[in-house]
């Protein structure tokens, strides 16, 4: 089994957290008091274009780690995020709507499927994958992990991965993580409130 990274969450929680006094009971997660800049990584999006930490700047992002052969949880979450964004459309201006990014952590199997897989949920969703070390760097920025199990007799293997969705602000900083289930209406309300609290984070030089 691959080296399992210590969950950075422990540190973040110890250091920061105004632990989700999230208005709605049906949303759970953490909001970081001090958002953390996602460190550099170099991956490709599902069209083969470079996708880096800078690609996260200038807009809000919701990032989910998963893999295309995940039959249950990943598609369930992506379908819910599609509904979350639809709900958000009723609450925030169009230019505040987040990008939804699926970080595919099983690149050998994910690459050929990635575009088809992601756009079935929404044409604007973005699939991202690449070299394992770069995937791990992006995971670290999301405060997430992924572990690939040993293949079974059929050559099949499972990938376990963080269940939370990372919320990245327009300065490219991890500012919250939300946990399943992602009930569309309360999750959208939580995100709308979060976006509002963070005001207009438009220009990178505003960052603290």
């Amino acid at each position: 089994m691959r080296k399992r990274r210590q969950l950075l969450a422990v540190n973040i929680i110890a250091a920061a957290v105004a632990c989700a006094t999230i208005a709605m009971a049906r949303v759970s997660g953490v909001v970081l008091d001090r958002p953390q800049l996602v460190q550099a990584f170099t991956l490709d999006d599902h069209n083969g274009k470079p996708f880096t930490a800078d690609s996260l700047k200038g807009h809000w992002s919701l990032i989910l780690a998963g893999f295309t052969n995940c039959p249950d949880v990943c598609p369930f979450t992506l379908a819910n995020l599609e509904q979350v964004v639809a709900e958000l459309g009723l609450r925030v201006r169009p230019d505040h709507l987040p990008a939804v990014i699926f970080l595919a952590v099983d690149p050998d199997r994910d690459r050929p499927n990635l575009k088809d897989y992601v756009v079935q949920f929404h044409p604007d969703f973005v699939g991202v994958t690449g070299a394992l070390d770069q995937i791990d760097r992006m995971l670290k920025g999301m405060d997430a992990i992924a572990v690939r199990s040993k293949p079974d007799a059929h050559g099949n293997y499972q990938v376990t991965h963080s269940a939370a969705v990372a919320v990245i602000d327009p300065l490219g900083r991890l500012c919250a993580k939300i946990s399943p289930p992602f009930d569309p209406a309360p999750t959208a309300q939580f995100l709308a409130d979060l976006f509002h609290q963070h005001g207009n984070l438009r220009a990178p030089e505003n960052g603290q």
């Binding site: 969450a9 039959p71 598609p75 979450t77 088809d116 897989y117 992990i145």
Partner: protein
């Protein structure tokens, strides 16, 4: 929603659920059938080789029913699985047996209990029907016809009526 009493009874219940149940109960006596409601398989892109199936199992009988396996001519393999989130990490666990208690029901629903279908033998399209056989511990088999549909076809999840 369509309720279905499955082989060997083959009585299909449309709306008149009570009548159907009464008929089934009358003809089956002790061996009350396990009903399967709303079985579906989310449509997946052709390159994805692992699918899921969801359904509601309703046991109207007086004895517990134990599902110990499943198969389909359309797939290489089917396993009973449960998705769990532990310490913030999402993982799938094989399930040896799913018990549908007497006069009870069990939901196979997204982000929980599901059939994991591996190796589709042909590309599936929306509205296709996939035959799945559930194997029970007493040797009984339950035929299921699962419809392939987009996840957003009737909202998400596989909640059925009360």
């Amino acid at each position: 929603m369509i309720g279905r009493c499955l082989r060997p009874l083959q009585c299909s219940v449309m709306g008149g659920m009570l009548l159907g149940v009464a008929l089934c109960a009358a003809s089956a006596l002790a061996e009350a059938p396990l009903n399967v409601e709303g079985a579906w398989i989310p449509l997946a892109p052709p390159a994805v080789k692992v699918h899921a199936a969801y359904m509601t199992l309703v046991n109207r009988g007086t004895t517990d029913k134990h599902i110990v396996g499943a198969s389909s001519p359309e797939y290489e393999r089917i396993e009973l699985h449960r998705s769990v989130v532990k310490d913030g990490v999402s993982t799938m666990q094989p399930v040896e047996q799913v018990t549908v208690p007497a006069s009870g029901r069990v939901e196979f629903a997204p982000a929980g209990l599901h059939l994991m279908l591996t190796g589709p033998k042909r590309p599936l399209a929306a509205d296709d029907h996939v035959q799945v056989v559930l194997r029970l511990s007493d040797g009984e088999q339950v035929d299921v016809s699962a419809v392939v549909r987009r996840r957003d076809d009737t909202g998400h999840g596989a909640h059925s009526h009360h």
